[in-house]
Amino acid sequence: MNKMNDIRKKLASGLVFFGAWMASAAWAVNDLPGGPAVRELNIQIPATKIAEEQVWLHWFMMIICTVIFVAVFGVMFYSIFKHRKSVGHKASNFHESLKVEIAWTVIPFIIVIFMALPATKAVVAEKDTSNADLTIKATGQQWKWGYDYLKGEGEGISFVSTLDNDQRVMSNNGAVGVDVDDYLLKVDYPLVVPVGKKVRIITTSTDVIHAFAVPSFGIKQDAIPGFVRDTWFRAERVGDFHGQCQELCGKEHAYMPIHVKVLSQEDYTAWVMDQNHKMAALKDDPNKVWTKAELLDRGSKVYASNCQVCHQPNGKGGGPVKPLDGAAVVLNADKSKQIMVLLNGQNNGAMPSWKALSDTDLAAVISFTKNNWSNKTDQIVQPAEVLAIRK
């Protein structure tokens, strides 16, 4: 395997030295373990049996196809050089042969059956999602992944995973001088799973179709609103593994990565404990009364991680995205109007519903928008007000 990688790398660098000269002089980027390698020519290094099987199948197909290709085009190019008018070749007159036609229909048919056998075995293995040790629901939402640990160790853990905002800003700035290895692949909270356990991923979505894909695990499953689908993997080694959304889901499609952290069993147990402690501490009482300063402080964080991708840090929006700065709904004395927009969304989901956020987060971010930029309403919204309308 190592030797093969070595040869592959050499081949790669030779093949694209021109491209390298054109573009990469400026970037000192390294291979990302569990993600793409620089100038990778083949499938990412597998971390599951299924992915290994896929790599094997791909080589199997490549070899058969290459042999056929060389054979057919060997004949064609021989003919091109030998049977041309300029070398004085006279055209023969044959133009049909039933025997030949039957031969080159039947032989490819047999080759195809030969190819289908190992593929069938792999399909059956891939689709067997029974007897999972851990079941996690991955919910695609524009443009982040929500993870809910449904069954197995860690049951009840639930969080949302978003692209690192600094990287999103780098992208907007043309990625000038960026040399991070996990560019566009870094998230705030990775999905954490134990090594060697069968993990079943149930996918769904709250808005449009997304796809949960991790190449080194060999999995790809669309996340479809209103429906659930599933897939599974059993990671063979600990480490970080990266994937990206693979079904066009709107403007931020390129910015909703998947990061799976595979931990040893002990580390995983420790992580679950830690999560449970944090969740208990984080639980906000929706009836607690907050001060204005507390709300604004929390609101600015909620805004940064959820709103400013579209509405911009200056609250002006842009293109189809409406501004918040000076907006009638934000300035309105009737606070329920803005609460309704955040809970239910607006304009056919162009402004999505944010009811997945907690009452406290919603109250905080509304208070923040009502008192930031040129908006000086001095109004604040308490979590209890959101809770009342949510009901």
Binding site: V72, M76, R84, S92, M115, V123
Partner: protein, 544 residues
């Protein structure tokens, strides 16, 4: 095209003046009221080339953005609009109309008919495309920009689009109606207007492939119309076909779309097979090997194309049996496709070949298209597809079959038949430059995309991890070279022959070419075969 642009050209030849009063009207009336198959064919080809250039500019904007990581030129919203409109314009505005243009020009000439069966419907099906093209190409200026949900128009993303989505849907309805009318015309012409002695199994391969393609079009264009109409009513009239909140199913859209979409793939390649099957024998100076098996292979591809659609949807989560069925059915298509390639190679074998530009493009087609065929076989394997579905591997695959396939065959067809259309020979040196420039730039553009896809770079991404930078840069350089090659083609090959510059073409410019189109003078007179010709036993020659 000189004969075509010169309104008096049609009077030349052996017409008596009887025909003058229903000859071509002059000036703009000649084109707006065109009923002559040659004029309409010219209109289709010019229209398609214009759309090809527009779609090409969009593609170059995409490649310019992807030249380096990070956003430099467009924002992600506009990027998605560019990929969507590039796809829609190339498929519906460039490739499909171009083949209809070839059909209009060549089918009557090849079967010895005086014109297409329904001349005014022919006019209507062309002019319907103009408003459609305007709706599509101006959608960038609509509020919220052009549709950005991908050319596949997957729901429920399309339910989030702005008003331009509706104009795109309306445009597709118009183009669909135009295609259906065109297909009816082609089928009726082929089945009813062949010269006596031109039996079905003596028809030129181009006519055969178009006959089958026309049936495919009639079968699937209404399916597309259904899918996008449901999208339209979901958007505006309160239905919930694709909205799960109202009991709809987003995946149903994909099933309906790909039931159209897969036969559509063959709609765009079968006429290409036809053109190649005409050109290879002409320049090998040897009859097409296995004519009957070519006809059967084409028909089997057409029939199989209806039962493979869900191989576009392996990642939606089908049951095991579903994946297996669609995998087997898809792999089966490689058998008749292989037969075609073998027949072409056998036609070349022991021929007496020369390599003028049409032959270069035809051989280039076989060589590069076959690579696209092999990657198609690899994509058809459901387990491997888990790695490459919706990645650049798929982008590479379908550009190998649609650019190196359909487009190269049209270039081949242009060089082969333009002497008959225009009455002048294109410049052979420039043709060869165009070929080598195009095929090299094509491979520089699309070959690296296989690597990107295998390494996991998803398609329709405005920005990508740094590890993908080099191959993207290479692909972008190739794309601009490819685009320039087509500007060269327009300025230095197409325009000169349309202006009548170049050596005068003789009636039979190609030594080995057979068929009725070579029985009429170059340029083809405005009216040909007004009286059914008497044909020899092979139906390739007119008996005096």
């Amino acid at each position: 095209m000189s004969a075509v642009l010169d309104p008096h050209g049609h009077i030349a030849g052996d017409h008596d003046h009887d025909h003058d009063h229903h000859g071509a009207p002059e000036g703009w009336r000649r084109w707006v009221f065109a009923t002559n198959h040659k004029d309409i064919g010219t209109l289709y080809l010019l229209f398609a080339f214009t759309m090809f250039l527009i779609g090409g500019v969009l593609a170059l904007l995409i490649r310019a953005e992807l030249f380096k990581p990070g956003l430099q030129i467009v924002n992600p919203e506009l990027f998605n609009q560019l990929t969507t409109m590039h796809g829609l314009i190339m498929v519906f505005g460039a490739i499909m109309p171009a083949f209809v243009g070839f059909a209009n020009w060549m089918i009557p000439l090849q079967i010895g008919a005086s014109d297409m069966a329904f001349a005014r419907m022919n006019n209507f099906s062309f002019w319907l495309m103009i408003p459609a093209a305007i709706l599509l190409s101006t959608s960038f200026f609509a509020p919220g920009g052009a549709p950005s949900g991908g050319w596949t128009l997957y729901a429920p993303l399309t339910l989030q689009m702005g008003p331009s989505m509706d104009s795109a849907i309306f445009a597709l309805h118009l183009l669909g109606a135009s295609s259906i009318m065109g297909s009816i015309n082609i089928i009726v012409t082929i089945l009813n207007m062949r010269a006596p002695g031109m039996t079905l199994m003596k028809m030129p391969m181009f006519v055969w492939t178009w006959l089958i393609t026309a049936y495919l079009l009639i079968a699937v264009m209404p399916v597309l119309a259904g899918a996008i109409t449901m999208t339209l009513t979901d958007r505006h009239f309160g239905t919930t076909f694709f909205n799960p909140a109202g009991g709809g199913d987003p995946v149903m859209f994909q099933h309906i779309f790909w039931f159209f979409g897969h036969p559509e793939v063959y709609i765009m390649i079968l006429p290409a097979f036809g053109i190649i099957s005409q050109i290879i024998p002409a320049f090998a100076r040897k009859k097409l090997f296995g004519y009957a098996s070519m006809v059967y292979a084409t028909s089997s591809i057409a029939i199989l194309s209806f039962i493979v659609w869900a191989h576009h949807m392996y990642a939606t989560g089908m049951p095991v049996t579903g994946q297996l069925f669609f995998m087997y059915a898809t792999m089966l298509i490689s058998v008749p496709t292989g037969v075609k390639v073998f027949n072409w190679v056998a036609t070349m074998w022991k021929g007496s070949m020369t390599f003028e530009t049409p032959m270069l493009f035809a051989v280039g087609f076989i060589f590069v298209f076959t690579m696209g065929g092999f990657t198609g076989l690899i994509c058809s394997m459901a387990p491997i597809d888990m790695q490459i579905q919706d990645t650049y591997y798929v982008v590479a695959h379908f550009h190998y079959v649609l650019v190196a396939g359909s487009l190269f065959s049209m270039f081949a067809g242009f060089y082969y038949w333009s002497p008959k259309w225009t009455g002048v020979m294109y410049n052979e040196t420039r043709g060869k430059i165009h070929f080598w420039w195009t095929i090299i730039a094509f491979n520089v553009t699309f070959f690296p995309m296989h690597f990107l896809g295998l390494a996991g770079m998803p398609r329709r991404y405005a920005d990508y991890p740094m590890q993908f930078a080099d191959f993207n840069a290479l692909a972008s350089v190739g794309a601009f070279a490819f685009g320039l090659a087509q500007v060269f083609f327009l300025l230095f090959i197409v325009l000169p022959v349309m202006r009548g510059q170049g050596a005068k073409a003789v009636q039979r410019p190609w030594e080995g070419a057979e068929g009725l189109e070579w029985e009429v003078p170059s340029p083809a007179p405005f009216h040909t075969f007004e009286n059914p010709p008497k044909l020899d036993a092979t139906a390739t020659k007119v008996l005096a």
